[in-house]
Structure formats: C-alpha cells, structure tokens
C-alpha cells in the first residue's frame, strides 16, 4: 500500500513540478468542448424539462455523450503525454526495484485517475457553462459517475499505454486499443449524465452503476495480473 502511494506520489509530484500533462489535457479538452457544444440547440439544457419535450430531452441525451467523448479524448491525450515522460527508461528502473508489478499497476492507475479527475474539474464547469446546464442538475449526482468512469478509463489506459509506446504508430494505436475496450464505461457514464441533465436523478439508468462497477473490477484485476508482461523489456 505504501509502495503504491509512493509511486503515485512520484507521478503526481513530477507533474506538479513539470506541468507537462494536465495543461495539454485541459487545453485539448476545452477546444473539443467549444467545438462540440456548438452541436447543441441554444437553451436546450438551461431549465428542467417541463414535460414530454422530445427536442429538449434529445439535446440532453446528446450532451451526455459529448461530455464523455471529451473526457475520453482528454484522457488518451494525457496517457500519451505521460508515456512520453516515462519513456526515458522509467520502467527499467522500476522493474529493478523490488516491487510487485501489481503494485506498479496500482500506483500508475492512481496517478492516471488523478490526472483524469483534474482534467474533469476544468472540463465539466466549462462544458456546463457553454451547454447552458445549471450546476444543480449535475452536482452532486455526477460524483459517483465520474468516480467509476475515471477508474475504468484509468485502468484501461494504464494497462495499454506502456504497451503502445514501443510501436511506431503509438499515438494511433493507443485510442484504437482503448476505445472499444472502454466502451461500456463511456456509454454508462454518458447515460447516467444524460439522465441527470434531464431531471436531476438517475431514474432507470441507475443499473449502469452495476455494469460500470463490474467493468472496473474486471479491468483492475486483469491489469494487476498482466501488467508485468506489458512492461517487460
């Protein structure tokens, strides 16, 4: 446990000093937010839906997917950036240290989780501002959604980022591997977010919490079990 924390702290400390990853993620994500919120009809998300208003509900359903698309691409940009920082023999050093690969995975996972969360703290308010959603709809309901979603994205990303770095087309391979594998997480987060945007509750979409939890457990287990093969030289 202490080792996991040491590893995560190392990544976060490097980032706090060098500021390599978070600015890239945030700037990239914000430009996507500007672009994607143009797709939403003006005022469609401003107030609670008064009744069976198909157009307003449709815009809110789209908004959930748009928001998590931004998070996904920001996360991939962050993984690529952090891998670039790690490429300089970091794993050779870490493998020499007497640390269990599962603990390495957990440490990297914690760091990636923190990066995604930090990016979201910048993305979500701006997204809601441009989409015209009132903060009362999404908070605090979005917090457990973001927790499970970030955990799943971080698990998939942590597992496949070092794997993709030794291929010539690494920045193309990483989204190609992570997108289909993280689809349940993205769909679940988007559905729950849309439901919150529609009426401020999870409604019938609450079942996605089960699927997302199962996904997180499956991927953390696979990651911990196979991380040693991914990072071996």
């Amino acid at each position: 446990m202490k080792r996991i924390w040491t590893l995560a702290r190392n990544d976060l400390l490097c980032e706090a000093r060098a500021k390599q990853i978070a600015p890239v993620m945030v700037v990239f994500a914000l430009s996507l937010v500007f672009l994607l919120t143009w797709a939403l009809p003006p005022g469609a998300i401003r107030a609670p839906v008064p009744g069976p208003l198909a157009g307003a509900v449709g815009a809110r359903e789209i908004a959930g997917i748009l928001m998590w698309t931004v998070v996904f691409f920001a996360a991939v940009a962050g993984f690529n950036r952090s891998a670039a920082a790690d490429r300089e023999d970091t794993y050779e050093g870490l493998l020499l240290a007497p640390v269990d690969p599962a603990a390495l995975f957990a440490g990297k996972l914690t760091g990636n989780f923190a990066f995604i969360t930090a990016a979201e703290i910048a993305i979500f308010p701006i997204f809601m501002l441009f989409a015209g959603a009132s903060p009362g709809l999404l908070f605090p309901g979005l917090l457990p959604v973001a927790f499970l979603g970030n955990l799943g994205l971080a698990a998939v990303g942590t597992l496949f980022t070092p794997a993709s770095q030794h291929t010539p087309a690494r920045s193309m391979i990483l989204p190609l591997l992570t997108f289909p594998l993280s689809l349940p997480i993205i769909l679940g987060s988007a559905r729950l977010t849309s439901s919150l945007l529609i009426d401020g509750t999870y409604g019938t979409e609450a079942r996605w919490f089960i699927l997302m939890s199962v996904f997180d457990i499956v991927f953390i287990t696979i990651g911990a079990a196979t991380f040693e093969f991914v990072i071996q030289e």
């Binding site: 597992l159 391979i173 289909p180 689809l183 699927l211 696979i222 196979t226 991914v230």
Partner: protein, 237 residues
C-alpha cells in the same frame, strides 16, 4: 506414406462446401416471408458462431502463452485472431446485405450489430498492434494481454449495448428451453454450413500457424548466420 492432415481437412472442406452450397441454393425450401433473401442466413449465422469460436481460441492461446511463454501458443492466438477477423467481416457484410431488403437499411445501432462491430475493432486493434510491434517477444506478450482483455470485455459490451437499444431478431437455433424455431431442413442446412465454416477455420488456423512458425524459423536462421559468421554480418560496423 502418411498424409498431411491439412490436405485431408482441405479435401473435406471442398467436399462439404460443394454439398453446403447445393443445399443452400437448391435443396432447402424458400422462406415464406423473406423469400430468397433469407438464404443468406446459412452464411451469416455460421460465420458468427465460428468468429466467436476463433476469439475464444485467441483467449485460450493468450492465457496459455503468458503461462508457458511457449511461442506455439502465441502462433495459435495470432492465427486465430486473423481468422476471427475474416469471419466477423463475413458476418457483418452478409448481415448488412440481408438488412437492406428486410429492414430497409444496411445498418442500425442494434446491440448485436454494435457488439460485433466492437469485436471487429478490438481484434483489428490486436492485429494493428502486432503489425506495428517491432520486437516479436514483447509484441506477443502485449498482444496476449489484449487478447485476454478483449474477450473479457465482450460480455460487458453486450450488456451495455443491449441496455442502449435493439432491433436484431432473437435467437432461432440455440434455444435451451423451447428448442429450435426452424424446420428440420433449415436446421440441417445451417448445421452443414457450420461444419463448412469450422473446417475453413481449421484450415486458416493451420496455415496461419505454419506461416508464423516458418517466419520465426527464418528469423532464427538469419540471426544464427550473423552470429556464426561475424565477419560477414558485422563487417560494416
């Protein structure tokens, strides 16, 4: 003289394919509502089954490879992934051709269609990764992890797209409670075509494994010759 089992399998494949095509086009009755279009069923469904089988074999080969680090298992997984992608593409294309006259559209965002597309993208990612991995052993290990994670995520993707929306018809053949919903002649034809596809899969798998083994043998011989003749190999450096 012993025969190469691959030759025998290929002969069986050819004979069963002729029989299967005769059954599909001449023997089995035309379906009452969909007409001739329904005959694509006999290609569409077996291709899907064999694709699932191929990806299950990728999982088995990947787990066995990571446990033993015996590259024969890796060859099985790699060759099976290639074959699985071929069968998935056959399944998707025949499905789209079938959907156009019956649903009126080539594509809908239905759970089954979406899941199959996601499967295809996962294993295309697997193949793209392998094609780009510069180091064979390293590439094989990572590919095995993708093979395991890819198959593990399949049921989750299935649930997630199922909760999203639906149009694909329910099962007609494998129904444990009610039994098959097809007449015997159609059932026999789909069974025969499944045998054809299974034999085709075996041939693809065997050829793929032999090809990969030959490639690695060539690489081994090349590295050997450089080591054995340092002046010939390292003369430039």
């Amino acid at each position: 003289m012993t025969r190469d089992p691959l030759d025998v399998t290929q002969t069986l494949l050819f004979l069963s394919m002729v029989a299967g095509l005769i059954a599909v086009f001449f023997l089995v009755p035309t379906e009452a509502f969909q007409g001739v279009a329904q005959r694509i069923f006999y290609v569409h469904v077996p291709a899907a089954w064999i694709a699932y089988l191929a990806f299950a074999i990728v999982l088995v080969g990947s787990v066995a490879y990571l446990r033993t680090l015996d590259s024969r298992w890796d060859f099985v997984a790699y060759a099976s992934a290639r074959a699985g992608v071929v069968f998935t593409v056959i399944n998707l294309i025949t499905g789209m051709l079938w959907g156009r006259p019956i649903w009126g559209t080539y594509w809908v965002w239905d759970p089954r269609l979406t899941l199959t597309l996601v499967l295809l993208i996962i294993y295309l990612g697997y193949l793209a990764f392998r094609a780009n991995a510069p180091d064979e052993t390293r590439g094989a290990k990572v590919a095995a992890v993708i093979g395991i994670a890819g198959f593990a995520v399949v049921p989750l993707v299935h649930f997630s797209v199922d909760w999203w929306r639906g149009q694909h018809p329910a099962r007609t053949v494998i129904r444990p409670e009610a039994g098959p919903a097809l007449p015997a002649s159609m059932l026999a034809t789909v069974g025969l075509m499944t045998v054809v596809f299974a034999l085709a899969y075996l041939v693809f798998l065997a050829l793929g494994v032999r090809l990969l083994r030959a490639e690695s043998e060539i690489e081994r011989l090349e590295s050997l010759s450089v080591d054995s003749f340092p002046l010939a190999g390292g003369g430039q450096g």
